[in-house]
Symmetry: C2
Subunit: 240 residues, 2 copies
DNA sequence: ACGCTATTGTGACGCCCATCACATGTTGTC
DNA sequence: GACAACATGTGATGGGCGTCACAATAGCGT
């Protein structure tokens, strides 16, 4: 099965490998069957916009493959990137539940596979199944939890260096490359976008990277970063 | 009925006036009855700490009366106030659901009346009642929504003046004093705490207030603020 | 009324970083 | 391979605001 963009649409939710470790996918067979029947599997190319902040919610988007950038934009062109969503996450969930407009804009940063569920179908699905409903509550808790941590580290730290260090440590801890001596990570965002994540300017990000390299804390091969001195980076990050 | 602090503990959830306009309280009679049986009505004096960030969740706190300050603290003493919770809000909800530690610290800023529900009781309650479970999802959506708006206006605006203006407008819109010509509002936080809400220093807040008064935009009588020029304040706030 | 402490007001100084302005890669496209 | 279009690197400059230091009030308990 090929999407308009030539991407292969992978398996159904029932055989999906994410089921085990991701909230919301490990429902009892009956519920999963129902879910299967109301979802629309879709593929998006890089740069596609799933929804825009302010739009009334059309439904939820379960991210199965790829990465989605969630951002908030001001009328005057300023942008804050709230988070990068990974496979397993449900996007537009809170807006769909509450009926309020999407609070963020969701844009794919690489080719993605997504399951879309229309709002009405989804709400009906939830009302029929306590278990599913509880999973949703868990997902939302998770989201809220992360939003708080985000706000915390963004608000608590003042210098840009601190925030960048925190971001890099955060990434390296997710990439599975966690507690290695010299964790590697692929930079999938431009300096501009990184700046938008930590609330600073592009130039500052460039300069910070330059300094970190000069101080032998970082090293870059193409778009791959190597953290050569995790301790030092942590010091910078914790200089609250 | 009097609490240890001499505060009168008000009516039950069944006769509570918040029921109509607040999520989570307008359940069907049966569910409400159950809820009534598992909750502990408690009164707290000003300055009491309901829970501390990092603690494992003991349960939820439904705020019935008073105001609670939710904050995140760094080991080095820095503090960010995430939000002020008003009656009707459920505190510690996401932690209780997910089983992860409380992500914020909750401290009363005036005498409060609170209904506490133990985690186990609460989870059992949810599993028994889709409706209640869905309400919880709605609450969480709400929380998430607000957290995003928060993060947005904190991250998008760069000058402290902007953030203070936004905060004041936000407050005046909540206090019911909404769209008056000259909205009034009681300042219940110190400059220090306001600074912690908008991520700036105490002195800056003082100076900003001074300037707003000099420019005839604000006027203060004791702890009461009057916004004399809403338009001008809005201009400052939207200078993204 | 009297101190004590918490809060607010204000000046001086200096650093961080946003902004502007270019130079120099790097990518993708035809 | 040539040319956009974009991403990155770097200097110069200036303002916002954090920080320190201290003065002036305002509450508050006894």
């Amino acid at each position: 099965m090929l999407s308009p963009y030539g991407m292969e649409i992978v398996e159904s939710c029932i055989t999906c490998k994410l089921r085990v470790d991701r909230i919301f996918c490990d429902l009892p067979p009956a519920a999963l069957q129902t879910f299967e029947s109301i979802k629309y599997a879709t593929a998006y190319p890089q740069g596609a916009v799933l929804f825009v902040e302010g739009q009334m919610p059309r439904g939820i988007f379960v991210l199965c493959k790829g990465t989605v950038k969630l951002s908030i934009n001001s009328p005057s062109g300023r942008t804050v990137i709230v988070k990068l969503a990974e496979p397993g996450e449900v996007l537009g969930l809170s807006a769909t539940i509450s009926g309020k407009p999407y609070e963020v804009t969701a844009e794919t940063i690489d080719p993605c596979q997504v399951n879309f569920v229309k709002r009405d179908d989804f709400l009906r699905f939830l009302k029929d199944d306590v278990e599913a409903c509880f999973k949703v509550a868990e997902q939302l808790s998770e989201k809220y939890h992360n939003a708080c941590r985000e706000a915390g580290s963004l608000g608590l730290s003042h210098s840009a260096a601190e925030k960048l260090a925190k971001l890099l440590l955060d990434w390296s801890s997710k990439n599975g490359e966690a507690a290695k001596a010299e964790p590697r990570l692929k930079l999938r965002l431009t300096h501009e976008e990184i700046a938008q994540m930590i609330g600073t300017s592009r130039e500052t990000v460039t300069r910070l990277f330059a300094e970190l390299k000069k101080r032998q804390i970082l090293q870059s091969k193409g778009s791959t970063l190597v953290i050569r001195n995790t301790a030092a980076l942590r010091d910078i990050a914790n200089h609250n």
